[in-house]
């Protein structure tokens, strides 16, 4: 049996304070150029804009639903930018910022929420699996995928690491805990990235767990780390290290990114029923974008022109998102029967044929639309 040196009850790892001051951390030296930091800022702003547009599109009836990432941009961009091309992501349903880092076009994300598809992109093309709605399930998929990576001998510096995203609520699911254990026992190259936004719909963290979530890993025998999830630099540094450790064959890490869900759970939700606005005001002080902007400005790493350019780019992106959303094609009725099976299937084939005939009967009867 392996014994991991247990339990470093580390404080929250933070490299950038809410005021935009950089703090060195001995274990996580920051190795990043000014251009890269500006890139992160641009990511944060654009990702927030995509989110804002999507919320608006939902209000306008263009989307059935949207799960906003407001407040969680740094956790997603920091970890997303820590990834390499051949890494694989297993997201939950709120990882629009990670999707952005994986070059999934924002409108590809919208199809699911518009109801034109249950998926929307090619996971293998982007190294970004489909959104998973049933809480916790993707943690086992990620672990299995990582076991496949091991079997492929695809570890090492140019190898593949796997990262799985989930929320604080998801830590209560059996599947998440089974995944922790499978990953530990198999020493699988997977990073479990928990965005602890402190709410699972209406349930606050204390309904999910009695002790900080990163400690869960210790019980399974792998390291758990808690980071300031609103600090894109800490997130980047810690995730990079966890991914490297996975690639190098040192097994799983749990990262708890301590952050806050600034908006409603989804556009269907009404958080005024269960939480006070003071909490939100407090977290506004820790906004992930403001602090990075302050840092860039204070250090003279970015000019006003730069900030203005990013805003313009965001405006353009917003417009593009709106247009592409409206242009998303509706599926055809008979698509219901597509891709249920890889191989011909007599049940489906018959139902498709019957239904095609039924639909055609309306046309025969001179009705253009059968409903």
């Amino acid at each position: 049996m392996h014994y991991t040196t247990a339990h470093e009850d580390t404080e929250l790892i933070q490299l950038l304070t809410p005021d935009g001051e950089l703090r060195e951390h001995p274990d996580y030296p920051l190795d990043i150029s000014a251009a890269e930091v500006r890139g992160l800022y641009r990511d944060l702003v654009l990702v927030r804009r995509i989110d804002t547009e999507a919320v608006a599109l939902q209000r306008q009836g263009e989307l059935g639903l949207w799960a906003s990432l407001l407040g969680q941009e740094a956790a997603q961009v920091g970890s997303g930018r820590a990834l390499r091309a051949n890494d694989m992501v297993f997201p939950s349903y709120r990882e629009h910022g990670v999707a952005w880092c994986r070059d999934v076009d924002p409108w590809e994300l919208l199809g699911l929420f518009r109801g034109v598809t249950n998926g929307g992109w090619d996971p293998n093309e982007h190294g970004f699996q489909l959104y998973t709605i049933v809480i916790g399930t993707q943690n086992l998929h990620a672990t299995g995928y990582a076991m496949g990576v091991q079997r492929d001998g695809a570890l090492g510096d140019d190898g593949t690491a796997v990262i799985s995203y989930f929320g604080d609520g998801a830590t209560s699911q059996g599947d998440t805990n089974e995944a922790f254990n499978f990953a530990a026992v198999n020493n699988a190259p997977v990073v479990f990235f928990c965005q602890n936004n402190q709410w699972a719909i209406s349930e606050p963290l204390e309904r999910q767990a009695r002790v900080p979530l990163y400690q869960r890993a210790l019980g399974y025998g792998f390291p758990g780390v808690r980071i300031d999830g609103n600090d894109v630099l800490a997130t980047l540094a810690v995730t990079r290290r966890a991914l490297r450790s996975a690639r190098e064959g040192q097994g799983p890490t749990l990262i708890e990114a301590f952050t806050y869900r600034m908006g409603a759970h989804t556009t269907n939700d009404d958080p005024t029923r269960y939480r006070v606005s003071a909490e939100i005001d407090e977290w506004k002080q820790r906004d992930p974008i403001l602090r990075l902007r302050a840092y860039l400005a204070n250090q003279g790493m970015a000019t006003d022109t730069f900030f203005a350019e990013v805003d313009t780019e965001a405006d353009q992106l917003g417009e593009r998102v709106r247009d592409e959303c409206r242009a998303l094609a509706d599926p055809e009725p008979l698509d219901i029967f597509r891709e249920v099976y890889a191989e011909p299937n007599s049940h489906i084939d018959r139902q498709r044929a019957d239904f095609a005939e039924y639909l055609a009967s309306f046309e025969d009867a001179g009705v253009t639309e059968g409903r």
């Binding site: 109801g115 699972a200 698509d335």
Partner: protein, 326 residues
């Protein structure tokens, strides 16, 4: 004295009655407390009965049903909420191999009067896993009772009867009908309500019978109304396990034709069972095979396709036409 209640509110009111009547009744699930559930069915209950009786659980369905079983073994009557149909499955093991079997295992010494409430069915434009109709998994599982409700009145009484039942009950709530409103006589007594396992003739008729339940009862009634040529009887099953075959067979013997409607996929759905059983009982009375108008054998589709997936008025009329083509 009656009052107009939505179906969702009727269940809320019924739950409240049950909790007032018996201090052992608990409500538990995700977001059932302050939020009152995503459909507000438990609205206000935590405020009035406290967090010990209306429990916001960790996000773990197996945990919900598993601890409910333990609470029941201690003498409580937990009403669990599963947030959506598609999220029931983590609780399948506790439900199928424990909840359903404990009475039999103990030769009747133990009771586990747990109710599992599940908003189910489609038609609300939702994303994946939020529109499923899993009833056949339950009706195939001995030891469970499976009920649903198509009207506020039924919902109001059925939830109270479910809580009062010493058997585990799967209580399927037709989510797209939560906002349907009707008069409910909340002053009547529970014992006067029709039994939980009795079907209801929702519309009498003589030429053909439609059997429906839950969300499809309204659609079936609309189809019956729309058929101006034939006099269609509509039966609302109400209970799916057991099914009140007396009422169904009685109707079919009169009409000679049966169409069964449900949203769940056709194959091995409740409709297949009804068809088999009614054919056994009414072989010489059937003028045509039992027709089924159901969901297809596919995963529930993305919402832009659900209007095609779900049985609607036209497809039911087509089913009736097919029955008359014999």
């Amino acid at each position: 004295m009656g009052s107009k209640l939505t179906l969702g509110r009727a269940i809320n009111t019924g739950l409240r009655q049950a909790m007032e009547a018996d201090p052992k009744v608990l409500v538990m699930g995700e977001d059932v407390g302050k939020l009152g559930g995503v459909f507000r069915v438990t609205d206000g209950l935590q405020k009035d009965f406290g967090a010990d009786r209306v429990i916001d659980t960790p996000l773990a369905e197996s945990g919900i049903v598993g601890t409910a079983i333990g609470l029941a073994l201690r003498g409580y009557r937990p009403v669990c909420e599963i947030q959506f149909d598609g999220f029931f499955f983590p609780a399948a093991n506790q439900t199928f191999s424990q909840l359903a079997k404990i009475r039999r295992r103990s030769a009747g010494v133990l009771s586990v009067p747990v109710v599992i409430r599940i908003p189910y069915g489609g038609g609300i434009g939702a994303v994946e896993h939020h529109s499923e109709s899993p009833e056949a998994y339950f009706t195939h599982t001995a030891g469970l009772r499976v009920v649903t409700a198509a009207t506020p009145e039924d919902a109001y009484w059925a939830i109270q009867q479910a809580v009062a039942s010493d058997d585990p009950v799967i209580f399927l709530e037709p989510k797209r009908r939560y906002y349907e409103k009707a008069e409910v006589d909340t002053d009547a007594t529970l014992s006067a309500a029709p039994p939980l396992d009795a079907a209801r003739v929702a519309r009498p008729g003589s030429d053909a019978t439609i059997v429906a339940y839950g969300p499809m009862v309204k659609t079936a009634l609309q189809a019956a109304e729309a058929d101006t040529e034939r006099d269609i009887e509509v039966i609302d099953l109400r209970s799916l396990a057991p099914i009140d075959y007396d009422t169904v067979a009685d109707s079919v013997r009169r009409t000679g034709r049966l169409v069964v409607v449900h949203e769940a996929p056709l194959t091995n759905g409740v409709g297949g069972e009804i068809s088999a059983r009614v054919t056994e009982e009414c072989f010489y009375h059937l003028e045509a095979p039992v027709m089924r108008v159901c969901g297809f054998d596919t995963p529930y589709p993305q919402s832009r396709l659900e209007e095609y997936y779900l049985p609607d008025l036209d497809r039911i009329l087509d089913g009736i036409d097919r029955a008359f083509a014999y």
